[in-house]
């Protein structure tokens, strides 16, 4: 945490959630990973995208504003409970336009690792594996990724591709190997900045300057020479309304704002 961050009215985790929520547009059909992606999608529902449909990987279809503690544990707020197979069929057939997931590592070309850091058979760290991550990024028209940024997480090449981004960056490669056309990661939101993709390569779009983050810090926590957008800006800080809704309504125990800065992993039953 920077000195500036200690003094500001919000945390980097809250910035990540708010920036992610703003990526959801009205009428989106969103395939949400459990945890941070779900909180961000709920925040979007409370603000600018009340009608977006949220689909969770265990097979819940909802337009309602459900409480977070029932995010995977449905009581009565679902429109359909078709199960995991069905919702992934919706995605594979092209009916879910927006995907949303967390990551352990990401690379220059948006490939995501949520499996193993280091050697697969002798890992330095084991995450829980794909879950719906591979499905989300393979099938959704665009995918929003949230991840804590560090040199060990932002790599030239990930140790293991759990969920494919633009592979080695060569145009058309996703389609060549059989992935549906016009899919893949579109935005990466970290605790330091926001990134888009330019010809399959990550591109720095904005820096969380209001939190005191500098270009030097952003570069220090990326292990390749990151491309900078010509129209680089400061990340738009959360509004008072967004912070109020996030803290008082969506995530009153502030569990997810804290978790935003670690890999977006889900709860077990």
């Amino acid at each position: 945490m920077t000195q500036k961050e200690k003094e500001t009215r919000y945390s980097a985790g809250e910035q990540m959630i708010v920036s992610a929520a703003r990526q959801i547009v009205k009428d989106d059909i969103v395939y949400v990973g459990v945890g941070v992606p779900m909180v961000a999608t709920l925040l979007a529902k409370y603000t600018h995208a009340p009608d977006c449909v949220t689909i969770t990987e265990n097979g819940i279809v909802r337009v309602t504003k459900f409480p977070m503690d029932e995010s995977t544990d449905v009581q009565t707020l679902a429109d359909q409970l078709p199960g995991m197979f069905y919702v992934n069929c919706l995605a594979q057939a092209g009916y879910i336009n927006t995907g949303f997931l967390g990551a352990g590592q990401i690379d220059r070309y948006g490939n995501i690792n949520t499996t193993a850091a280091g050697d697969f058979y002798k890992p330095e760290h084991r995450w829980n594996g794909s879950g719906g991550g591979n499905d989300v990024i393979s099938f959704c028209h665009r995918t929003i990724v949230t991840i804590r940024q560090s040199r060990r997480r932002f790599l030239e090449k990930v140790d293991f591709i759990t969920s494919p981004g633009y592979l080695d960056g060569r145009p058309g490669q996703r389609e060549e190997i059989g992935l549906p056309p016009n899919t893949g990661p579109s935005i990466v939101i970290s605790n330091l900045g926001v990134y888009a993709f330019d010809n399959g390569e990550m591109l720095l779009k904005s820096i969380h300057s209001d939190l005191g983050v500098t270009m030097e810090q952003v570069k220090a926590e990326i292990s390749w020479d990151i491309k900078i957008a010509p129209d680089l800006t400061d990340t738009e800080p959360p509004t008072e309304e967004e912070l109020h809704l996030l803290r008082e309504v969506v995530d009153p125990q502030k569990i997810f704002a804290r978790r935003a800065e670690s890999p977006g992993l889900q709860q077990q039953s």
């Binding site: 097979g59 544990d73 078709p82 594979q92 697969f120 084991r126 829980n128 594996g129 591709i161 490669q173």
Partner: protein
Amino acid sequence: MSNKLMTLKEAVSKYVKSGDTLFVGGAQHATPQAALHEIVRQKIDHLGVVAVLAQPTLLIGEGLVDKMITGYAAQDYTASYPLGKAKAMNRFPVYEEYSHFGISLALFAGYMGIPFIPTKGHLGSDMPKYNKNIKSIDCPFTGGKVAAIKAVVPDVAVIHVQRADAEGNAQKWGSIGVDVEGINASRKVIVTAETIVSSDVIRRDPNRTIIPGFRVSAVVEQPWGAFPSRLAGFYNADRGGFMRVAIAGGNEQTYEDYLRDFVYGVKDWNEYIEKVKSIKGADYFDKARLKNPVKSEPIITGS
């Protein structure tokens, strides 16, 4: 039709064998805890376990699992006492990993009775490098690439449902994860049911039947059979409760005490429930009952 009602002890000893591939139902809803506890109590080992968002921690911790077949599972044995215990005993399972859709498809192929199923997922991922049951093939129609996922046909499934009749017609509602694919792919199915109802109740809402009686091997009446996970319409999850903590395998003390007292120290799930009540209070389970049950409109059938 035949009456398949029996005790859980009988069902498990008759239908779950060492070396079996076992499907565990209940993805974040109604994990069949009573059945899992009974399998541990009977120490049925060398299992391959197909589990999707239902972590069979006790089975792994007791060294009973050779292989996990899953899309998502905690594997960091430095962060979990039972996983660490399995590792120390040299009984840590091999993980055969898919995405959520991948394992759903593998079960769906098993359910359909076909050898493999094509998909547009898993392509470009490293998962196929380490899982020989996922391959990239040429589509015979378009010439493009598709992934092929080999069918998974579990030897036996355990699932907990709200209601079933004595013949095995089983009805579950609420979140269903991969239950339908998993049990219908399995050769034998053990159904534990919160309540046993007459066949007439089943036939008044047959759309809710997720597997027909003739595909079910054993039916067990087992109240609180999914607790401490939730069962829609019956009880809420025991969030933060001691059962939940112990089953998740927090630390050596809670885990080993739990196994000694509540797995090996009781003869079955009914004794387990009585023991929990005697220690934690007679109302321990009642506190989890629904406070605001909501009824749907009845569906109408008839002539």
